[in-house]
């Protein structure tokens, strides 16, 4: 009996294995550094160029000439190497990988810490740095230490005003910022089975926030149905009992809307504790919460009303933006007075499209609230889409209970 990580990586927890990397990707930020390392390695012939994606999301479109020049260099390099390039406006790398580029059982490495996101599809998906990525381009494989696993058993169903985001913030608060270091988080139970793919991606996305190497869900009927949409016919993975270093049980019915309070992701408190806190800006989007389901939920709450503070909404991919345009969700969001940004990371990393000013307070649906990240001297709370919507309408932190 083994954990899903042990099965996919092919070794017991604690062992070191060399594994072929089925999918490798980098973005406009880490891609530049990986390109530099690759050149220093002597520009070898890539081992499996057809498995490599370069996705422009971090500063897309470019914000300065300096950024634009680096991005041009990476475009030429990707073409030279035969790597698939998704240019500006395509969306966030993790979202695009989840849109049919990652399959259950695969080993996936991204040059970005949130590469754990696609563990939601039953893959072993993790983040590494730029030089590791360059070596993967050259060799097509890398070494892994097979992680111990924390089992998170989800039961019950979420109250309508709560989301996967409230669960993942609660989990992060309970495990702590380093409680999952070197480990994998495996989500099981009837509550996990009942979660949508968007919810699962949200949960796995934030695994790294407690130090974990990845988060995983077993591929099931939901995964099968989700991937069929992208033309893949996959088989569910058999759920096995493994040996876990820790087990958590969470009843989704007990969930309440929560926030990560600045400047630590694991400082988690009920939204009600901070209700009334003035907000200068609300941001909805990112690889955590920029999916169609999120935009639809946000639109449902703000429809026919007007936001009371600067509100930025950034779809996680072009496909999501297009769907939101077709269904009218985007129109509702625009009509409510929100600014809609191009698909990508948006202001999450404080580089463009909504950087905060000194002394400002914001609420974001992202995954990190580190000091100065979204703007020097600013502070920001992390919360669910519903909390963001209810709060945007009042210009202050507001519980979504009753709003949906």
């Amino acid at each position: 009996m083994s954990t899903l990580s042990e099965r996919i990586l092919g070794g017991p927890a604690g062992s070191y294995v060399d594994r072929v990397v089925d999918r490798a990707f980098a973005h406009d930020g880490t891609g530049v550094l990986a390109m530099e390392a690759y050149r220093q390695m002597g520009n070898p012939k890539p081992a499996r160029p057809e498995t490599v994606s370069i996705i422009y999301d971090h500063i897309a479109p470019a914000n300065t000439s300096q950024t634009a020049t680096l991005q041009n260099e990476l475009r030429l390099f990707a073409a030279e190497m035969g790597f698939a390039l998704t240019d500006i406006g395509g969306g966030i790398c993790h979202q695009l990988m989840s849109e049919g580029r990652v399959l259950p059982g695969e080993v996936v490495v991204g040059a970005d810490s949130h590469s754990c996101t696609t563990g939601a599809l039953g893959a072993f998906s993790t983040g590494m740095g730029a030089t590791d990525m360059a070596a993967i381009w050259a060799e097509g494989s890398t070494w892994f230490r097979v992680p111990e696993t924390i089992s998170i058993n989800l039961t019950g169903r979420l109250p309508t005003w709560c989301e996967a985001k409230d669960i993942v913030l609660t989990v992060t608060g309970r495990i702590g910022m380093d409680g999952g270091t070197y480990r994998a988080l495996e989500y099981t139970g009837d509550g996990a089975t009942a979660l949508s793919m968007a919810g699962r991606l949200t949960l796995c996305n934030m695994a790294v926030e407690c130090g974990a190497k990845t988060g995983l869900f077993y591929a099931d009927k939901t995964t099968q149905h989700y991937l069929a949409h992208y033309g893949h016919n996959i088989q569910p993975q058999k759920v096995e009992e493994g040996t876990y270093c820790r087990e958590l049980c969470i009843d989704l019915a007990d969930a309440e809307p929560v926030l990560s309070v600045p400047h630590r992701v694991d400082t988690v408190a009920p939204v009600t504790e901070y209700a009334g806190t003035h907000l200068d800006q609300v941001f909805v989007g990112t690889c955590t919460n920029g999916r169609y389901e999120d935009l639809e939920r946000f639109a449902h709450i703000v429809r026919g009303k007007e936001v009371a503070c600067r509100t930025i909404v950034v779809p996680a991919s072009r496909a999501i933006m297009q769907q939101a345009a077709e269904t009218g969700v985007l129109t509702d969001i625009i009509a409510a007075g929100c600014v809609v940004g191009p698909p990508g990371c948006g202001p999450c990393l404080g580089m463009h499209l909504g950087v905060l000013g000194e002394g400002e307070t914001a609420l974001s649906t992202a995954n990190r609230n580190f000091k100065n990240r979204m703007g020097v001297g600013a502070k920001y709370f992390l919360g669910s889409v519903a909390t963001a919507a209810a709060s945007a309408l009042k210009g202050e932190i507001t519980s979504p209970e009753g709003a949906i």
Binding site: L33, Q40, A130, A134, A138, D178, T181, G211, N372
Partner: protein, 156 residues
Amino acid sequence: MTLSGKAVCIGADIDTDLVIAGRYLRTKDTSVWAEHVFEDLDPSLAPRLKGAVIVAGNNMGCGSSREQAPVAIREAGAVAVIAPSFARIFFRNAINVGLPVIECDGLVCADGSTVMFSMEEGWVEAGGIRYPIRPLSPKMQDILSAGGLVSYWRNR
């Protein structure tokens, strides 16, 4: 080989945004990163890093996968980073760019005091007390000995 340096003590859960802020990433010029290393944590740290041993708390280097973080520390002249635990991407990145990172529990040392260590012999010494360290995997040892993953790859 025994190395030593003056301890520069920083706290726990130091994220890579604090090591090198996102606003300094859009360049390939490593001296920019060295100049601004730890700026948002304590702007007085950068000039103290030449020849220093950084002694951090748990979960050193959490957050973003940015490799500029260990490069900035290396370029600022630090000899090594010692912590009870590291975020795994930072740990891997540091080895890959040739920055020694040492997992060591219970190390007690005052800021500015001398810290000695030998990775080969597996110890760190401060205040007259010797502490054992967790050994690197053989592959990581080889990568670090080569001066980083690029040299390791070229030499193999």
